[in-house]
Symmetry: C2
Subunit: 343 residues, 2 copies
Amino acid sequence: MATTPPTRSPELRKDPVTNRWVIFSPARAKRPSDFKSKSPENPNNNSSSCPFCIGNEHQCAPEIFRVPPDPNWKLRVIENLYPALSRKLDHPNGQNDDSSSELSGLGRVVPGFGFHDVVIETPVHSVQLSDLDLSEIGDVLIAYKRRIEQIKQFDSIKYIQVFKNHGASAGASMSHSHSQMLSLPIVPASVSTRLNSMKEHFNQTGKCSLCKVQSKDLLINETSHFFSIAPYASSFPFEIWIIPRDHSSHFDELDNKKAVDLGGLLKLILKKMALQLNKPPFNFMIHTSPIQITDSEIPYSHWFLQIIPQLTGVGGFELGSGCYINPVFPGDAAKILRELNVP
Amino acid sequence: MATTPPTRSPELRKDPVTNRWVIFSPARAKRPSDFKSKSPENPNNNSSSCPFCIGNEHQCAPEIFRVPPDPNWKLRVIENLYPALSRKLDHPNGQNDDSSSELSGLGRVVPGFGFHDVVIETPVHSVQLSDLDLSEIGDVLIAYKRRIEQIKQFDSIKYIQVFKNHGASAGASMSHSHSQMLSLPIVPASVSTRLNSMKEHFNQTGKCSLCKVQSKDLLINETSHFFSIAPYASSFPFEIWIIPRDHSSHFDELDNKKAVDLGGLLKLILKKMALQLNKPPFNFMIHTSPIQITDSEIPYSHWFLQIIPQLTGVGGFELGSGCYINPVFPGDAAKILRELNVP
Ligand SMILES: Nc1ncnc2c1ncn2[C@@H]1O[C@H](COP(=O)(O)OP(=O)(O)O[C@H]2O[C@H](CO)[C@@H](O)[C@H](O)[C@H]2O)[C@@H](O)[C@H]1O
Ligand SMILES: Nc1ncnc2c1ncn2[C@@H]1O[C@H](COP(=O)(O)OP(=O)(O)O[C@H]2O[C@H](CO)[C@@H](O)[C@H](O)[C@H]2O)[C@@H](O)[C@H]1O
């Protein structure tokens, strides 16, 4: 982890998109630990007991759709059996936004209506997302889009968070390759903050904060339609953003051709991460715009995909302040990943 | 963890202090995991190799002060050997606030000047904070106050985050009982958000959001000067806030008498947590106000101490949206902890 010369002084940077301060501190990488290290957490590799494996569909919550639509499927979108939100609750049709949520005297409260879906990315237990070919990864991305288009019909859903947990220390409870989509009746505060920050940047500079690679030093790889960077104020070491070149506020504007292009870049980045960082657990998140808002209402907004390898934990400082301590300067992380050759 | 009847519907609540939405979802507590569980992480109990133990002072970074000031100390405040910020950098005396930080074209940037201190809470390796008697815990709290008063002299320090990591899964790298103080040249965004939320509540209701227990159902325990609650929109299961009864914006307004009183309540709460939740790893954080701002400028602000037992991990949903999923309703957590008898 000590990829920067130890003499480099710490620095604080504020991200213009997330509006968050990050402390860059190479010295932190060197601290010892007197806790014994964790034993590697071995996933269950027994596909007979995994509900996400092909042949075990009956062990799952109901299916929403599969691709292709036959017994020999390549991916499935299903309901989460332990959903965080309930699709069965009454939903007050678009009435439960922040301003009209009930104020209980203790704070605002909204009934837990929403959709919580699982995207099974492959029928085979041992296959990981980065093992799929680019068009198969493209199919997963198009499945997110298709599901978003279905959910858009519900006026009371305000935001859809697409995310992936890979590996137990990234939060995953299931080892079979999958991602999740949680459709919320509210707009999370961090999404409002992001939109406000991007708006401010746009008003100040006349430019979108994400349309262009702002510095070649932060670039990792690029394709016809996307580029990947280590963001200037990365909260986590080796954090990566994949950004569409076209100014686009909503992920579901992705078309088939761009999905394959993005699939290729995502595959390359995941391979590089595995190679350089020894197959780390990771999360990825799609940061898009609230679904009931049109592009023209938010001309400053630009969606992106954020990848976070889980290399360091967090503690009370991060929980308390919301600031992160990152031992690796993004320029160094970008250089290492950019120059890495994938066999 | 399944402390709520499984039939209770999910609900979203927005905290009036943190301004964050939380999803309450009892169903989530029941999901299985196919990752093998972690082996218990055993701390090093060998005090000969622990730099924080009495007799090993020479293995530590320089001391700031000790209590009492003699070889037989009971607590020490020392410099962190691997500081996130550097006390040696030039600091532009109060000039580096957000508005005057340098704008690099990529975002704001501030030199990493600051103080990062460790508070060694006991000379003995095997003693935990909750093993100390109430006046000894009071001494730890007064040590925080004394250090804050020293750091206040530096105009360029804007905020001091006091926090404790207990146990490896709460982020601790050292097992000897300690806490940390990180003094920052910026005000973290979450602190500004908190102050803005409290101001809005104050303007709307004419009341401070923390001065009174808002519901007896959320109360855990109380003393002459403090009360503890499970907050209405707790982000984490069994999250606890200890709040001073007196309206006070800054932690360092604490006097010796109140410190002992708080020490007693903190001890009780930590004991209850250990008993009910099987000695969980935990963090605590002191949420105070920026140090260069006086009480009269922020009449709506009220400091508190937040305790988070680490029972559930987080994943891509939380990282992406900043919302949390909590399987335990705070009223249930409060009832369990309130009714628990500590021998
Ligand atoms: N037979 C079945 N049919 C359908 N669905 C099934 C199923 N068996 C299990 N599931 C669901 O499959 C999902 C698998 O998800 P992940 O492994 O990505 O993490 P999980 O959601 O458990 O929690 C992680 O991610 C969330 C969200 O970020 C965090 O709150 C949490 O702390 C972290 O551990 C679970 O949500 C589970 O409910
Ligand atoms: N001989 C010595 N003299 C002086 N100081 C010494 C020392 N040996 C070690 N130290 C310092 O003692 C501290 C012990 O702190 P903790 O165990 O609370 O967690 P740590 O800060 O390592 O990281 C946790 O907390 C931080 C902040 O929340 C998170 O960034 C991180 O991910 C998480 O693991 C370390 O900061 C270390 O630098």
